[in-house]
């Protein structure tokens, strides 16, 4: 079975731009979570979605938003990019939202 997939793998943006990151969960998983991992630090929770509804939100500004589609895939959007948004963005899926999470390979975002 395919694991969690994320696209793109890398991208470079400039300050003030907008970015959309995509995640496809493992087949049958209904929950998707997003994490930000700044270089040298542990991942920080951004959002969790279950059955297309937001179940949790971390301490991130409103420039960060996300949604989950009927096929359970998800998008993370970041507006007005700042240099500090440069990070590895990880997506994780789980069957029911409260059980083991499986992580994707991440999207490396560089903001110049």
């Amino acid at each position: 079975d395919a694991g969690v997939t994320q696209s793109p793998t890398h991208l470079i943006k400039t300050r003030g731009q907008h970015v959309t990151l995509r995640c496809s969960p493992i087949s049958g998983h209904k929950s998707v979570s997003w994490y930000q991992q700044v270089l040298g630090q542990g991942p920080q929770f951004i959002f969790q979605y279950y059955e297309k509804e937001e179940r949790g939100r971390g301490n991130f500004p409103d420039r960060f938003s996300a949604r989950q589609f009927p096929n359970y895939s998800s998008e993370l959007n970041v507006n007005a990019l700042l240099l500090g948004d440069s990070a590895l963005y990880l997506c994780a899926s789980s069957p029911r939202g409260w059980d083991e999470q499986f992580f994707g390979p991440g999207t490396r975002l560089t903001v110049l």
Binding site: S33, Q41, F45, A92, W98, E100, F103, P105, G106
Partner: protein, 112 residues
């Protein structure tokens, strides 16, 4: 709020030596505890988890961790490490829902 402290940012060891990666957590409620491993340019892989029951949990590749409630610790150990164990290791705690709070990570480097 829960927090996780990984007491060592870097741990260099020689091949076949024992290793312990230390993790302490702070939480006022029952927790689920996890160790994840991250190889360079990859996402997170679950190494082992404590949900309930026996306080000693083991992984398939020789790692083990012991949940100590009185000391709020969940240290990771391996009696004999291999070069291939070189990676970043993250301790994480989950309380409500499936939101994970991670430590800052410990870089384990196994030298020949």
């Amino acid at each position: 709020a829960q927090s996780v402290t990984q007491l060592d940012s870097q741990v260099p060891v020689f091949e076949e030596a024992p290793v312990e990666l230390r993790c302490n957590y702070s939480s006022s409620v029952s927790v689920y505890l996890f160790w994840y491993v991250q190889y360079p340019n990859q996402g997170l892989q679950l190494l082992l988890k404590y949900l309930s029951g026996s306080t000693l949990v083991e992984s398939i590749n020789g790692f083990e961790a012991e949940f100590n409630k009185s000391q709020t610790s969940f240290h990771l150990r391996k009696p004999s490490v291999h070069i291939s164990d070189t990676a970043e290791y993250f301790c994480a705690v989950e309380t409500s829902g499936s939101r994970l709070t991670f430590g800052e990570g410990t870089q384990l480097t196994v030298n020949p």
